[in-house]
Symmetry: C2
Subunit: 543 residues, 2 copies
């Protein structure tokens, strides 16, 4: 598979390229997995000094406003194009014509080049700046886009164009409406630049004066999550996007203030006294303009498609320290929700579910597990684990494997490194300790519920039993259906192998690692649509 | 004032030009009224044979996709541009590239030409086809635009562009999101063409087979109302558009089916047997595509700005008969709500308010007034009136004049012709006959409520008293305020001279002929903002 990344010399382009090379293969047209044969980085600026030396990567300096160059870039069928190149918000306000030429005409040049080929998949970075003037409350995918910058206007136009190109079958377009990706290691000029600076400058020990109101709420996400989500979006089966003619969706984000981020940095470093000093001299006009950007982007649709968000501002800060400053500045052990590769995807009084994906060569920060946990694995790969003050030990995980960790009595503090050949992909289901149950006053710390025998339900096989949970497996063949009475008080459904379904888990395309929580005994029926994919589920009964 | 109309050889362009010439002057930049010095009709097609011969009109055949030609067209400051030229929906689906080039690049060429001049006012015809996929129910201005045709996509992009050009002060843009304008006298090719054909073909005595589902609901408006609204939108003071960064709004419309229109035609003609026969052979694919267009456009904002809608499908049909077929085919007298120059703007169990505007040279159809009515006039002009079977008699009305007609006992059947020099502009307030009161079972036909004395309220002057109503006048100076206790059971406020206000009539820019209905005794306060305009109101007490 040949991949094109525009804005390829920029921060996001570089991160995306690195991750693609680590993974080495991607799912593309017809849901076929293909090895990455070539990654073309295209940009109008000078290449940075530390470009990747991988033989699969080529570099092209050029101008996206030149339609001929775009045609040359998309010179094969079935290419995957990540279009990240853009004039940013501040520059767009300063130079309308450039903003139009690059963001709108440039995007169209590239789309036309894709249209001239078969099977192009086109991933576009839109922006929460599209929202602009709107009612208070979270920004929803279904809301009208009424941008208040030329940058946002061009992005909103591109969203409309891509939907139409996709509708007509000119290309397979998918649009990620981005929150502000932070922290950028370079000093950048967009309106939301302060949301990077508040982390970056203090960590590099530089004093900084920020001109945005410290209490202004803004939707942000960490670079790792964004890169992962762009790749996830690019690899979604076309069937997962059916059912809506809108190819554009908000990416998951955190709604934070500059003060929140400043506090998060202090919380993850070993010695807050060594941080650069942050002072605020808010520019009211700039703050007002920025407040028309995304404050709190709702990403319900994206999350239902397997896209993930940072668990906390601390995770974003910690990731930056480890990647761009000096890991030794961090406190020695971070909490699970502060670890930047653990993405909280479900949380309720009974459990927390984290999604973890580590490409080969990558490793987590040293982190602490405090609760008893089930681990569900989705890939065959080799890893290495290191407990605090011990050496790395080799390990291997396999697709479908389930492990249990009894961490409530003795916390697990460790880090994991992926050796390969594939991404380490798992779900961590952490059970809230039984002595911390927030409800049911009559249950004291030592109260134990009477254990019932596992029920016999046709189709369900009990495959694991531990003090906090039982795990059953269920398989439904392609075109088949299943129904059963489930007597459980609380249960978690986890998708092992996905398919298009209708019934009790919604009318949707289920993908591996999708998670559903249900309460109360219920009758559940499931129909697996289509004749090709069978469905495999795990049902976790909470005890 | 120099005016440019693109698409000027088309049906709407021709109607608009005709009306502009009749009026002869328009309100433009700085709310100054200027004589129309030149109307340039620009189009890419061959000029029709019956172009206006007025010396103020010039014709230019050209291509809007040529930026240089656009620059030549906008060759003065303070021009008023009506941009109607467009590739329509059906053609856009057939030829995407042409649709993009004309609708998007062409519009931008023209906007750039406006930007290069000072004080350009840019009126753009967008379309309800912008809505596309959406939740059931009426289309609101505040809804997301998710078009399902390339035509709709380009229109939605232009809306975004115009908002941004207006925000940056490049031009004063105003966007009319059009329902389907019917009936077009020529055979046209857009997806909604059947909504014209159902009227046109039967009236010309031609049999027709329509391929749209007869029960498909669609938002339409008559050509007269649309032309009037485009001119009203163009002349709105800038202050009336403040308070929202969205320059785009739905035009008022009727939500009708082809069957509704077919019935309406039968109702207004003298002899339905002479109509051409309409048969339906619905194409489900076309009907499905059309159902993504506007079904029921909500125009609350436009109506609050003085834009009007057709009173009925019958009015649309009757107007077409009189203008394009043969007035003698009509039944001899139409009802008030069937008369195409009477626009119902308020209706409740107690009264109906019609707005009437007749330019010089125009005349109403012969119509019937059945209820006692107050008439409020807003311009000085001369008219002629003709009662059924009588001769035309000269008359004159003056701005601020109020008349009363006692039509319940003896219907008034008449028609009015405007001689000039100005548009005849009035509000007809028709009172529901007291023996038809829908509420209060104890009031028989002969029951009369005890007449109270008119209350003495500081600032209010009683200027007219009739059996059904008393009219008071109220003036509030610029920068001043007024408040009073109003003991009336039901009242109608009518704006005589407008101003920006806050208080009991909303925070808005009031314009002459704006109407507000209020029930129950209340305390009302009004503040007139700004130092230039004083406010003059009429208060109608319903007896």
């Amino acid at each position: 598979m040949k991949i094109l990344i525009t804005g390829g010399f920029g921060f996001l382009g570089q991160r995306l390229c690195k991750r693609i090379l680590e993974i080495g293969e991607l799912v593309g047209v017809n849901d076929e997995t293909c090895a990455v044969s070539r990654v073309v980085l295209f940009d109008c600026s000078q290449p940075p000094p530390d470009l990747p030396t991988d033989s699969r990567v080529t570099f092209t300096k050029g101008d996206i406003t030149d339609a001929g160059q775009c045609k040359n870039l998309v010179d094969e069928d079935n290419m995957l194009v990540f279009h990240l190149a853009s004039v940013m918000s501040g520059q767009g306000e300063a130079d309308f014509d450039l903003c139009w030429k690059v963001n709108l005409e440039g995007t169209r040049n590239l789309m036309e080049a894709c249209r001239a080929r078969k099977g192009s998949r086109f991933i576009f970075a839109s922006s929460g700046a599209c929202y602009g003037e709107r009612a208070p409350g979270p920004e929803l995918d279904s809301m009208k886009l009424l941008p208040q910058t030329s940058y946002g206007m061009t992005k909103a136009c591109c969203e409309l164009m891509i939907n139409d190109y996709a509708r007509r079958g000119f290309l397979d377009g998918r649009v990620a409406r981005l929150p502000t990706v932070i922290p950028r290691p370079d000093i950048n000029s967009g309106l939301p630049a302060a949301f990077s600076a508040v982390i970056r400058e203090s960590l590099f020990g530089r004093d900084a004066t920020l001109v945005v109101r410290p209490d202004l709420r803004h939707a942000v996400c960490g670079f790792r999550v964004l890169v992962r989500n762009l790749l996830h979006l690019a690899q979604l089966p076309e069937a997962a996007l059916a059912g809506s003619s809108d190819r554009c969706m908000n990416m998951p984000s955190l709604s934070v203030t500059l003060l929140d981020l400043h506090q998060a940095v202090k919380k993850v470093v070993r010695d807050p006294a060594k941080l650069g000093r942050i002072t605020f001299e808010p520019d009211e006009a700039l703050s007002a303009k920025l407040s028309t950007f995304h404050n709190d982007m709702d990403a319900t649709r994206a999350r239902s498609l397997g896209l993930v968000g940072d668990s906390s501002a601390e995770a974003i800060a910690a990731d930056f320290v480890a990647e761009y400053v000096d890991e030794s500045l961090l406190k020695p052990v971070v909490e699970l929700e502060e670890e930047p590769r653990h993405w909280l995807t479900l949380s309720n009084p009974y459990l927390r579910v984290f999604r973890v994906e580590n490409p080969p060569g990558d490793q987590t920060l040293m982190h602490r597990h405090r609760g008893n946990s089930l681990y569900f694995f989705f890939e065959n790969t080799r890893t290495q684990g290191q407990k605090l003050s011990e050496a790395f030990l080799d390990d291997a995980v396999s697709c479908g494997e389930i492990r249990y960790g009894d961490h409530a009595s003795c916390n697990l503090v460790h880090r994991i490194r992926t050796k390969g050949p594939r991404v380490m992909c798992c779900l961590d289901v952490e059970f809230t300790a039984s002595d911390c149950k927030p409800e049911g006053g009559s249950e004291g710390p030592d109260a134990k519920r009477a254990r019932t025998e596992p029920p016999a339900i046709a189709g369900l096989s009990l495959i694991k039993e531990r003090p906090t949970a039982r795990v059953y497996s269920l398989e439904v063949p392609a075109g088949g259906s299943w129904q059963g009475a489930l007597p459980f008080e609380r249960m978690l459904w986890i998708v092992h192998r996905g398919a298009r379904v209708s019934g009790g888990l919604g009318d949707s395309f289920l993908q591996p690692a999708d998670v559903f929580f249900r309460e109360g005994p219920q009758q559940l029926s499931l129909e697996v649509l289509g004749g090709q994919r069978s469905l495999a589920l795990w049902l976790v009964e909470l005890l």
